[in-house]
Each structure stands twice: as C-alpha cells, then as structure tokens.
Assembly symmetry: C4
Homo-oligomer: 232 residues x 4
C-alpha cells in the first residue's frame, strides 16, 4: 500500500468519529496532510465507517486531483484543499454533522465563550461564517465553503493556529489541528462546548460572556510559552 | 420457509430499530414489499424485538389479508397497505415512536428545513398531516392514517419518491424508501433532523429557513442526474 | 430460600431498572405481591444493584412488618403497603428517580396527554399529587406518600387498573401493573412520555391536548374487550 | 510502590469518571488524602484515563509540593490543597467538567432545591461562587479557586460536611466526601441534580423551591442520628 502511514493515520482518525458519537452513517470525513509530499489522505465519499479500510483512503494533491486510490474522495475534498492552502499550521481536518454543532450552525450564531472549558481550548467565540452568497453557491461550492471559513477568519482577524474550529452557517462544523487525531479531538470538544452553551443560555438567558481575564488565564494555562498543563 | 428472502429482509430491518435507539419494547414496525408477487412482509403485532424471528414475519396482500404466517400482523398494517398502493416507488416502510419525531408530531408542526443535513435528504420541510377528523377515526383508523399522509402529499404537491418521510399529527413518524433498509435509514435521519431543528430553534428563536439556493445545491449533490456524492 | 419465586420475580424486576437507565446507584425499588399469602417482596434499603442477590430481597406483610429476610426493606416500604391495600388489581410496584419523570414531579404538573404514545397506555393525563401538608410530613411520611397518591386518584376519579402511574409532587414517580415486570414496563414508558411531552411543549408552547376521539381510539386498540393489538 | 493503597484508591476513583460519563479526554481529576501522613494522592496533569496506571498517581503534601511520583500533578492541585486544609472532614475531592454542572456554573447560578432527589443529598441549594476578581486571577489562580469556594461557604454559613459540592462561577463543579469514592458519587449525583433542575425550570418556569418541611424530612431520612435509610 502506497502512502501507508498517511492512510493509516487518516483511517484511524475517521474511525474515531462514530465511536465518539459525532457521526451517523456517512455524515463526516477526516483528512491529514503530508506537507513535504504536498498530498493529503481523505475518506472516500459515501462509504460506511464499518466497511471502511485503510486501502479505501484516497490520496489527493493540493490541486484537488486524485494522486492514488480506487475510490472517489469525499465530496467535501475541495473544502479541505482550501483550508490546507490557507492555514499552513494545519495537519488534519475534520468535518462532521454532530448534533449540537449543527444546531448552532443552523442558528447561524457564533458560540459565545461562557466558561473555562471553552477557554481551555480557544480564547474567542467559536466563529460562524456568513450564509454563502448565491453566486458562490453556483461556483465550485466546496471550494467556496473553504473560502467562507477563510474569509471569516480574515474578517475577524483570527488565527487558525489558535482557533481550531469554525461553523459554516446553515451547514455544520469544520475543525482542525496539528494532526488528524488532534482535529478529531477538537471536533469532540466543539460538540461538548455547543451543548454546554445551549444549556447555559436556557438556564440563564442573560448569562454574560466570560470576562477576558479569566479567558486569558485559562487559555494560557494550556497554550503558549507559560503553559503549565500536562507533562511537557 | 416461504417468502424466505422477503421475510429475512423484513426481519433484519426490524432488528435495526432497537439498535438505532428508535424504539423501545414493541413501539414500531417495518415492512417490505415484493411488487411482482403483490405481497409485503411485516412485523407481527406486539412481539418483542428480542424474541422476533424471521419465521414470525407475516406476509400480507395489498388487500390487507394474511397470505402466509402464524401470527397477527402489525395493527398498523392497513396504513402500510395504503402507502404501498399510493406510492409505487416505495419498497419498504417504517413506523416508529422515536422521541424527537413524536414530539414534533405531537406539536403538529412540519419540521422546517434549517440546514444542509436536512437538504441532503429532502428539499422540503418534513410534512405533518392534519389531525384526523372524527368520522375518519370511527372508520378504519389505520387505513385512514395512510390516507391522511397521502392527502397531505397531494395537498402540498409532494412526491413520495423525493420526500421519504411524514409526521402524522398527534401520533408519530412514517418513513419509506426503495428498500426496507433505506426506510430504516430515513427513520434514523428523521429523528436526527427533528432533534437538530428543536435545538436550533432554542438557540435562535428567529432562525430563518435555509435559502432555496443552498437547499437545491445540497439536494442535487446527492440526488438526480448530476449527483456527485458517493461512489456511483 | 423461602418465597423463592416471589423473590426471584422481585429481584429480576429490580435488576431491569439500571439496565433501562431508570436509576443510578440505589435510587429506586420494585416490589411484587403474593395476594394469596398476603405478603410482598421488596428491594432492601440502600443496596447497590450490582451487589443485589435474590436472597437479599425482603418479604413484608401488608402491615409493613418483615416476614422473612435478613436486611431492612426499602425505606419506601410503607408507600407500597398503602398502594397494595388500596389498589387490589396491582401485582407489582416501582419507584424510581428517573430524570424526566422527576422533573415533571418537581414542576408539580400532571403530564398532558399530547399523543398516541401516551394514549396507547392510559387515556388521561399522568396525575400529579398535591404537595404534602406539613402535618402529614410529621406523621408516617412513607405511609402518607401512598395516601397522597390514593387521595389524588379519588379526587380525580381515576382507576389504578386503568392509570398505572402517578407523580408525587416534589418527589418522583410511582408506577404499577399486574406484575412486577409490567410495573417496570410502565416506569420506562412513563419516562419516555415525560421526555416527549417536555420536548413537545418546547417545540410548540401552544400545543393542544390530543382530542378525546383519538385518545379513546388508541387506548381501546390496546385495552378492553375490543382490543386488537398484540397476539391475544 | 510507595503509598500503594492511597494511590490505588485514587486511581480507581479517577477511573470511575469516564465510566460514569462525567469526563471526556483529560477533563477532570480525583484526589484522596491520608490525614495521618499529611499527604494526598492526585491524578497527574493531562494524562488520558485509558493510559493511566496507579503508578502514575502523584503524592503531594499539604504545601502543594510533590512528595512522590514521576509526573507533574493535576494543574488544579492547589485547589485541592486549600479544600483539604479548610475542610477537615473531607477525605476525597473530585473536579469534572460534566455537562449540566458546567452549564449551571457558566450561568453563575446556585442550583435551586426543587425536589427530594436533591434533598436526599443536601438540604440547601447547590452553592455557586462569585466570579473571581481580577487581582485574584493574577495571583495563584488555583489556590484562589479553592479560596473562592471556601469564601462562598463562609458567606452562606455552609458546612462542607453537609454540603458536599459547589459550582465555581464560569468554570465548573467540585465535589467531595469522606472518601474518593464518595466524592465521585457526589459528582455523579450533582450532574443528575443539575439536569433535573434544568428540565424542571423548562417544564414550569414558575416552579417553587421545595418547602423546608419536605427538605428536612428527606435529608434526615438519610443523614444524622435518626437516619433510617440503608442497612446501618
């Protein structure tokens, strides 16, 4: 098997999605990139997780063309292409239709930062794109989906290395990370943050956003040069 | 065993319902039809899923009479009869009392199309029938339940081949598809769409319906001659 | 082991509660009665389900005194005594602190009959008692809990043979049936009805109660001389 | 292995958290103290539960310094230190980011005592601290988190021996008990109480707090010299 380790990383990360309750049927995909070779591995389109094998994983170039593999890649492949090109720190990307993240995306709202569980992972609201304009929909839709996220990050001056997740309005979540496993981790965390924020607003409709001093404290416990969480 | 493959298809589809969390106890039934022979296979009435065997499945004609089988068929059999007669593209039908779909049916609301997860499966709100009139209730109730769905589709000019699901007001969901397995798939998807729409409205009470251009784009990615999702 | 079959029935019904997700830790109890011998079997107080054995089950008389057993019976024993004395058709009783049923009990609201899932089991709202008066609390509290339920049934002219469940305001659910297994079935159904009604009201705050003609139709499909659901 | 039994108690209690659905990934920690030796055992920082071994557990003194162990202790260690120093009856402490407890903490609301499930465990609302002042955040944040809880208990005249849980505003829950296992029990109960109170308020926005006579009755059934719940 060519690209064996890249395919294996991609396969294993994909198989985490149903285990974590983030997808039903074929509702999701994970990719991971080999920056040196300029190719990424991605789930084939519409294949059930319980039938997926490492051999089924498709290898794609940054021009969106198949480099190796017998199956058609995920229909979202061009979204992954745009994100890999725009965000050089990203090593893996996940797309799911997980329940609470989709609900916030459908509600077209950024998820407010209400607590330290959120601030442990990112020091900003979880961004949500605009609804896509009709001319973009008529264009290459999946490429435009990636560009919507990138535009949103530019507009709000966000760094993909610091904000590892986004909601696409009316659609659902994309998450990323240094590796495919880390991107899956962010997909699971995002779903939890969306559920917590939902309950929080129902418990207290006037809940304030967490104050900046607490946000910075928690974010910096886990990230950056003064981090003191974990073993490294 | 007569009608062995039809019974087996029906049995296996029925057994998916408790695994998918769509039924407790005996709250549901699946049928599948052999159009050439003009008979369909359906779950027997009130039999627990963990005691069900392929032999227990009842074979029924399109007049609602038992063709083969030792047990009484589902009390909802006549609803299936009407749907098979009115919707010639349908090969399998599912009825459940899954939690979120029942809640929308009890609320007597069509489920608004809020996102692409919904549009990937149908390009319209999930229809909900009227409450049944008293004279119809006094009539053959299960036959009338089927007619309620058919009337609803006529009134709103919906095609059963494009809209594989309906809610019966005050009651619960029916779904269908080309096969029993596909009908079960739609039952699971319906439950998820109902849960997502419920959360969406609580996150944003003023949420707009997804715009048509996005609906058509997503529906056509997966359906029709220009579909490009999956491996075929 | 004395009263072996009664103890076994009681043990097995108790063990269903954690499997069905109706209890955590020791939050619940099931009893079943032998009307001829005038004794009932009940879970011992505060014993974890994973350590429970049939021998641990306590045999109690209708005066509330232990007839056989080494352990102290459930602290709710006297509630069971009152219900068995007042409701002669009852063969088994369940008390849980299941999440949605407790929430409705805390909200001190009868659960409105919103759909056929409810009407398949009872043709009335799920009754909720008054909050207990202070003099009754100072009295034998568990006996008074049973009397609260009985008073509620008298006041609303309900029959325990037709309404197999009640909520005690501020506390939680009691359910019953011809056997312990049937009482457990009603505990699971009650939890589902409470969850469905909760979601229904959030989906449509102005949802109407199901009309009587539909209620009677569904109740009579499953109960009484003209029932045609199931195999008997 | 030094401190073998303390490490084992701590390890086993930590391993309960993912089984009970109270943590995902590394979101939580349990400690337990040996009061005679003046040391406590605590989970190492950022280690996955499925890789955790008893040997990984860190032994820490009441000055917060490592006494034995190869790994860095939980970043929340100093919070545990303060609680052990202020609350001499406490033998074990748990911190989680369980969903409903975090939502109430983010909503910065004490959880009202709505029912007997709550009163069985504590006879007061579940307290919630103030948001931490900025000068305290700049100080030793984890020490200050413990002090916030202690201040809250002083202000409301609560006893840690009677109220085994607290919410830290904008952050999440801490629970405790005579042993680590008992502290885990309280973490699970807290999550259930938070879920029940959330649903209760949505079912009845005007729900009253449970009256004191019922609170005292239930609390005293399980606690104090006249308790009659359980086998002792």
């Amino acid at each position: 098997m060519k690209f064996a380790s890249l395919r294996k990383e991609c396969y294993e990360a994909n198989m985490e999605l149903p285990k974590l309750g983030l997808v039903i049927y074929t509702f999701g995909n994970v990719s991971c990139i080999d920056r040196k070779k300029g190719v990424f591995a991605i789930k084939p389109s519409g294949v059930d997780y319980d039938k997926l094998t490492p051999e089924d994983i498709v290898i794609v170039g940054l021009d969106g063309r198949i480099v190796d593999g017998k199956l058609r890649p995920s229909s979202d492949t061009n979204t992954h292409v745009e994100l890999y090109k725009a965000f050089p720190s990203v090593g893996g990307i996940v797309h799911t239709h997980s329940t609470f993240a989709v609900a916030w995306a459908q509600a077209a709202r950024a998820v407010p930062l209400y607590g330290t569980t959120h601030a442990d992972h990112l020091a900003a609201d979880i961004p949500c794109t605009e609804f896509m304009a009709d001319d973009r929909i008529r264009n290459d839709y999946e490429t435009e989906t990636g560009l919507q996220i990138i535009d949103c990050f530019k507009k709000h001056k966000l760094k993909a290395s610091e904000i590892p997740m986004a909601l696409v309005a009316g659609h659902g979540p994309f998450t990323w990370g240094a590796t495919a496993a880390k991107a899956v981790y962010h997909a699971r965390v995002l779903e939890e943050l969306c559920k917590m924020a939902y309950i929080t607003e129902l418990v207290n409709p006037k809940v304030p956003r967490l104050k900046d001093s607490l946000i910075q404290k928690h974010y910096n416990r886990k990230h950056g040069k003064d981090a003191y969480y974990g073993q490294n």
